[in-house]
Amino acid sequence: MTSIVSIRRITQAAFLLLFLWLCAVMSLGTNWWQLRGWPVNIFLQLDPLAALSTLLSTGTLYRELFWAAGTVVLTILLGRFFCGWVCPFGTLHQFVGWLHRFGKPLAEKTRLNGYRPAQAIKYYILFFFLCAAAGTLLARLTSLARDGRIIPWIVVTACLLTAAILAATKLFPRAGRATAWLLAVTGAWTALAVFFPVERLIAGSVQTGLLDPIPLAHRSVHLALLPVADRFGGVLSAAPRQYTGALLIGAVFIAALGLNLWIPRFYCRFICPLGALFGLFGRFAFWRVGKTQSGCSMCSRCEANCEGACEPDTEIRISECVLCMNCLRSCHENVMSYRAAKSAGGEITSPDITRRGFMVSVASGFLAVPLARLGARLGLNWNPRLIRPPGALPEADFLNRCIKCGQCMRICPTNIIQPAGVEHGVEALWTPTLNFRIGTSGCQLNCVACGQICPTAAIRPLSLDERLGLNEYAEAGPIRSGMAFIEQGRCLPWAMGTPCIVCQENCPVSPKAIYTREVFVPLRDTLPVVAKADELTVDFGAAVLAPGAFANGDYFCAISGGSDPRPRRITENSASSLSIDSTDPWEREPAAGSQADVLIRLQRPYIDPRYCIGCGICEHECPVSGLKAIRVSAENESREPQHRILA
């Protein structure tokens, strides 16, 4: 008979393969396996932490994020099935941990899989992130009270307060004091809010994606593992994918896996905020693992293989149990079972968190975002190097949604959506930013892939019409991600008397946002006076020119001082003379002794801010390949009207 453990292993392998498959198919192309309706966001949409944090920050569950409610319902019925059966990151941890303890003696296994009080840390991490996200909700509630909309305010506050008090009574032994504290803080806050705009003190930001295992796994696979793997095959993308800061992303992933060599499922037990969320719901679990009788031989075989470190042999910790079912198989006395009854050995349903730790994590969560915002990154000190993909929401709204999953960075056909580093602001870490030096082109005009893939609509799904400002969007105009600026000190025609205008050639909008003005600039070295001339040639009487040097079509000759100063194109030159275009002869033969100048014809580029959309193709193509002579920054971006340049 197939054991429950084998079924669990097969399920885990299947979900891991499905996850990897959905990561692999995330490329644009015409092969059957490439992106064409594969549900590539399904794991993110089943992730209640992504759902809850964006629900707190936006008050909505975007599109299929509501499927996470299904995960919650199943967790309430079954316990932490997601951790033990579905989570691809958890499966990897479990596998590494299993490899590590394979063949070790029972005592050593029991030591590795014993419960540790530090497992409470993940709950503090969860509270921290949820409170950081809830800042927006709190601010909105607070302003509701001041706006005079008292009735909705009372209803919502009462509901939240009741939930908080209920939670407190379950979590803490001395519930009375916790309730009193909550009521006191709420009362004081409300009293303040009636008189002062205290909502300005708080702000929210979704940072769960930093440690939420599903976005973390997506990000690591997309930005670190697949690009390295694909360097050999070149199967998943035509050009090798490149990601800035992939070292850190990959290192976090490898370190998380490596920690299993210290303690199995280290990440799941101590860090994972999603696991913590499931742990909180797990107390309601209808079916649960436990003993069918209180007494047993205490052989500790069940503990030796316990993935959750939940002490099944004594009082089982329901919130830590990941339903690995190993104890059911290990038990030689058939005492362990999974059933709709409490464990006969007793159980601990609540996580082992302290009131002090709870208060610290909640307070620091609410404080962290306002502290981060003191740098005025959302105000005057906004970062022009942080160029968001077209359709990205205004920065405050963007940070209320982005879960740093990296889906947009993977789908971008030109590979220019890159994970932001800390230099873009702590809150922006691993959020998408455009980098036009990397990748295969700029942001392509006829592409809206990033907004279509974004699971939380941090990047709004655009139609091509809206992106390009066509038809019903003609009046609004195209979406601008920023604007190009020319640095005249680096630009070849501006600074070095050299023709170029690659930027103008590649500007994809019509009319072009980059236009040119023609100038004729004398060369640095002057020539001797004219010895003799006819209507098509000028002779200097001595070898002063490099033969053919001025014959490439860009050089012109002009006679200064005379009545005919207009430059003529040079078609040929020997060491001592030069010829001009035979279709445009001198009006009068230049006199001997007059001064002839060789000029280079330059087309100097200019930017028209009315047309530039900040696509960065110019920056990508600029031949000054180090610090580009034309660079896009976020000025004039559509999403932040206060960043506009034109009045």
Partner: protein, 332 residues
């Protein structure tokens, strides 16, 4: 064994340790001696350009050209090739044909910034009808290559006519040196699609181009270059002349059905296009471009690269010397 206090070691242990130490000393000395050098690293040396494109033109045959007016590309291209004796004059049984399209930008075909997919499909079918064993389509576009071939409709056209699309990859390029060239010295050139190829056809639209004056069949060879080719815009006429010397095609087709008059070479708006209804087929790309310039209202003298390519022996700027066959495709 060696636990007795105060007692150093046995003779046997001493000998063993001495042997190990000697081996380690010898190894360290050998490595130090063997790998020592007084020579500082040389300047970065580049591999000599080993790759060169063969001459794909039909030998011992005077250059020929045909110009057909008409709005329907299928009709004009067929009529033009019929007038030149049929595709069989150029593509023989068993030939492996490479078609260099202009797929530079990821824009839809209606905007005319790239080779028209209908024209590509027609030419591929004509090649197969003439007995070609295989036809491949290539370009190294400016925008993302995969996006370019798909959005321009060129990949779909190639697939439907049974041709392979050779999308360039890092490994597709090899350094190439063109004898007598100014810039194409050890420069990476798209080499992989040329493997086994016996005939080369260039398919280019007529487009406005601020830097060079016009982008037609000669400028189209730019898409065979790899590396940081944008530096060559500093001498655009020089690089196009080099390209004219590097590439000796079997045939070029210059599509002036819709000419991009303004905002080139990207275009982006239908208002940048003008129906000039002309299809030019020639074995001489210089002559083809010289004729194409007239569709833009320019003369060969406005485009120095035409005169320079002619001077370099890549063809003739005076297309009248080719006695071009001028035809009109009937509207039915």
């Amino acid at each position: 064994m060696n636990q007795s206090p105060g007692n150093g070691s046995t003779r046997r242990e001493f000998l063993l340790r001495a042997i190990k130490a000697t081996a380690a000393v010898a190894a360290a000395s050998f490595i130090g001696y063997r790998f020592r050098t007084n020579r500082p690293p040389a300047r970065t040396s580049e591999d000599a350009g080993t790759f060169s494109l063969p001459d794909f033109s039909i030998p011992n045959r005077p250059a020929r050209m045909c110009v057909v007016t008409g709005a329907d590309r299928t009709k004009t291209i067929n009529l033009a090739l019929d007038a030149l004796g049929g595709m069989g004059e150029f593509v023989k049984n068993g030939d492996h044909v490479l078609i260099k399209v202009n797929a530079a930008f990821a824009t839809p075909p209606i905007l005319g910034a790239t080779t028209h997919p209908q024209l590509l499909e027609d030419v591929i079918r004509l090649c197969y009808a003439a007995g070609a064993a295989a036809v491949a389509v290539t370009d190294n576009p400016i925008n993302d290559a995969a996006s370019c071939f798909e959005l321009t409709g060129l990949a779909a056209a190639a697939r439907s006519a049974g041709a392979r699309v050779a999308v360039p990859r890092e490994a597709s390029f090899r350094p190439c040196t063109v004898p007598g060239a100014t810039y194409l010295v050890n420069w990476p050139v798209l080499a992989e699609p040329f493997r086994g190829v016996t005939k080369l056809i260039g398919l280019a639209p007529v487009k406005d181009h601020q830097r060079s004056g016009a982008s037609m069949t000669l400028k189209n060879w730019y898409g065979l270059l790899g590396g940081r080719r944008n530096v060559f815009h500093q001498d655009i006429h020089g690089i196009i002349t080099d390209l004219a010397m590097m590439v000796k095609p079997t045939l070029v087709v210059l599509d002036g059905t819709q000419t991009m008059m303004t905002n080139g070479p990207t275009g982006g708006s239908l208002s940048d296009l003008k129906a000039t209804n002309t299809m030019i087929v020639s074995t001489d790309p210089v002559a083809a471009d010289a004729f194409g310039a007239t569709l833009l209202g320019r003369t060969p003298a406005d485009l120095p690269y035409i005169l320079r390519a002619a001077a370099a022996g890549a063809g003739t700027a005076n297309y009248d010397l080719l006695n071009p066959i001028m035809l009109k495709a009937g509207e039915t």
